[in-house]
């Protein structure tokens, strides 16, 4: 038999969630089924949408321009509805590397990247990324030369951020879909670069 572990009473927030959900169901605002479906949809959402946006920007310079000018609209062009999200896309170049953090909580472009990784929400990452970004990036395996400028974006208010990583060398002539497979979640947060053609 599986050991269910020691008994733990519900936390304050678990109780609040159950109370609110039951009230909403009782008042006919939502059904239990709808809530379950939405939770499932959120769990399933990965970073593929973000990768599609990046791959399109790599193959289409005009799209890239529109993406950098207005991230939300450019996503809509690809049929990606990102409600309640003012998206700013920041571009990595050989001279500038961008990275995203939310020091106050854990703001994250979920509609494009799915559920944030645990480390993104950790105090360690949130406090150190603004203080010593080079050391933090090195811990992710990304050693940036001194001549590369680091721009750290603290997502403190109403904007959400996506890093447009550099297109890897050796991918000339690649199709969009093949390119999208090189775009990792971490490269869109800015703690890594995109995969190379042989990775």
């Amino acid at each position: 038999m599986n050991d269910p572990g020691p008994y733990r009473p519900l936390t304050y927030f678990q109780l609040m969630e159950i109370s609110l959900r039951e009230l909403l169901v009782e008042k006919g605002v939502v059904t239990e089924g709808e809530v379950a479906e939405e939770v499932e949809a959120m769990r399933k959402r990965g970073y593929e949408r973000g990768a599609r946006v990046v791959a399109r920007a790599w193959v289409d310079p005009q799209y890239k321009e529109r993406l950098l000018a207005n991230g939300t609209k450019a996503c809509e062009e690809l049929g990606l509805e990102i409600p309640a999200l003012k998206l700013l896309v920041v571009e990595n170049t050989p001279e500038v590397h961008n990275a995203i953090v939310c020091t106050l909580c854990s703001c994250y472009p979920r509609m494009l990247l799915g559920i944030p990784p645990e480390w993104y929400k950790s105090r360690n990452y949130r406090s150190r990324m603004v203080r010593e970004p080079r050391a933090v990036l090195a811990e992710f395996g990304l050693d940036l030369p001194a001549h590369v400028t680091i721009r750290v974006h603290d997502s403190t208010a109403d904007m959400r951020y996506l890093v447009l990583p550099m297109r890897p060398a050796g991918t000339e002539g690649w199709e969009e879909e093949r390119l999208a497979a090189l775009v990792t979640r971490d490269s869109m947060i800015g703690v890594a670069v995109a995969k190379g053609p042989n990775d």
């Binding site: 003012k86 020091t103 106050l104 603004v130 203080r131 010593e132 970004p133 080079r134 001194a146 001549h147 590369v148 400028t149 680091i150 721009r151 750290v152 974006h153 603290d154 997502s155 403190t156 208010a157 109403d158 904007m159």
Partner: protein, 95 residues
């Protein structure tokens, strides 16, 4: 909506205040001087929203760019490294 008072490129200082309640200006950036990077639009004031009020008039929101060495005097990365933070207008003054 409150009128935007700052232009991109303008020097601003973050007010060094300690109000109680829900505030979206991180402690580490209060009192620091930076440059307006862009105007992001105006949004209901989150400090008011947290008190169940309507947050109006909407507050202009800016991205302000700070030199890392201005924020952390002992910063040991490149002197060009920057930190960009979203800050509401009522937290900014002309530097």
């Amino acid at each position: 909506m409150a009128e935007p008072r700052f232009q991109p490129g303008e020097q601003v200082r973050v007010i060094n205040a300690l109000p109680l309640g829900h505030v979206r200006t991180p402690f580490y950036i209060r009192g620091k001087t930076g440059t307006i990077e862009r105007y992001c639009g105006s949004f209901p004031n989150p400090e008011e929203l947290a008190q169940m009020r309507d947050g109006l008039p909407a507050q202009p929101l800016y991205r302000v760019k700070f030199r890392q060495q201005e924020v952390w005097p002992d910063y040991d990365g490149s002197p060009n490294d920057v930190l960009e933070v979203e800050i509401y207008q009522h937290w900014l003054e002309k530097a």
